[in-house]
């Protein structure tokens, strides 16, 4: 009736790999951030999957996934603010242009 755990884990692994591919190959910093969001979601999906298959009536897994979502939201807010700050400075969001440490 139900799908075995391995299917979901494989899906999570493939989604993470797709996100990693985007983070490694995209040039636009916003596209890199989007890929990081994909990886984050794959990880959170894994949390929820393990909770669903291995819980003993406890909701700890869901609470942990909830906190992970909150941290991901904070990360994306900071990341996009950094992208905007970098854009103001360099007039570009191409990650290849961000080469100096001292502005």
């Amino acid at each position: 009736m139900s799908v075995p755990l391995g299917y979901y884990l494989t899906l999570g692994a493939v989604l993470f790999a797709i996100g990693l591919c985007g983070a490694l190959t995209r040039k636009n910093a916003i596209a890199v951030l989007m890929s990081i969001e994909i990886m984050f979601n794959a990880a959170i999906l894994n949390f929820v999957v393990f909770w669903h298959y291995l819980h003993n009536g406890a909701l700890t897994g869901q609470v942990f996934a909830l906190f992970a979502v909150a941290v991901a939201a904070a990360e994306s807010a900071i990341g996009l603010a950094l992208v905007i700050a970098v854009y103001r400075h360099y007039r570009s969001v191409n990650v290849d242009d961000m080469r100096t440490l001292k502005g």
Binding site: S2, V3, P4, L5, G6, Y7, Y8, L9, T10, L11, A13, V14, L15, F16, A17, I18, G19, L20, C21, G22, L24, T25, R26, K27, N28, I30, L33, M34, S35, E37, I38, N41, I44, L45, V48, W51, H52, Y53, L54, G57, L59, Q62, V63, F67, V69, V71, A74, S76, A77, I78, L80, A81, L82, I84, A85, Y87, R88, S92, V93, N94
Partner: protein
Amino acid sequence: MNIAFYILAAVTLLGAALAVSLRNLVHCLLALVLFFVGVAGHFFLLRADFLGAVQILIYIGAVAVLILFAIMLTRNVSGTEGGGNSLGGAWWFGAGITAALAALATAAVRRSSLAATLSSPVTEQGIVKTMGRLLVTDWVVPLEIMAVLLTAALIGAVVVALEEDRKS
């Protein structure tokens, strides 16, 4: 149940693949929203209703709009629009690493004895109610720390984004 899993998996994979491969950033964002919807569907399927609602509210409601604002604020006036994946050899390098990682993880999952585990039944119906109660009793300290973290992150985001103006 099985059919729903396969449909949602297809939606999620399609959204993720399009989000990392399309050239126009706004199209990427739309594909990303499709991906978020797929993940939320998975959460509903896994009986994590509250997390599914949170996924829709936070990711589609907030993060997607935030990314859209960032795209509109940083649109390159003169240069390459969108910033696609025209990296030549590096594109294949990244895809190769990704395929290797996916193959490795899939092989590890297949070998694991845990992977055949079927779902344990969710006993209680009022999961959201129980979870809300847990959040303000057992997990109240992490919840408050998370609130402080989010406040600090938002203030930090504003400070970082405004820094250039203050200097001039």
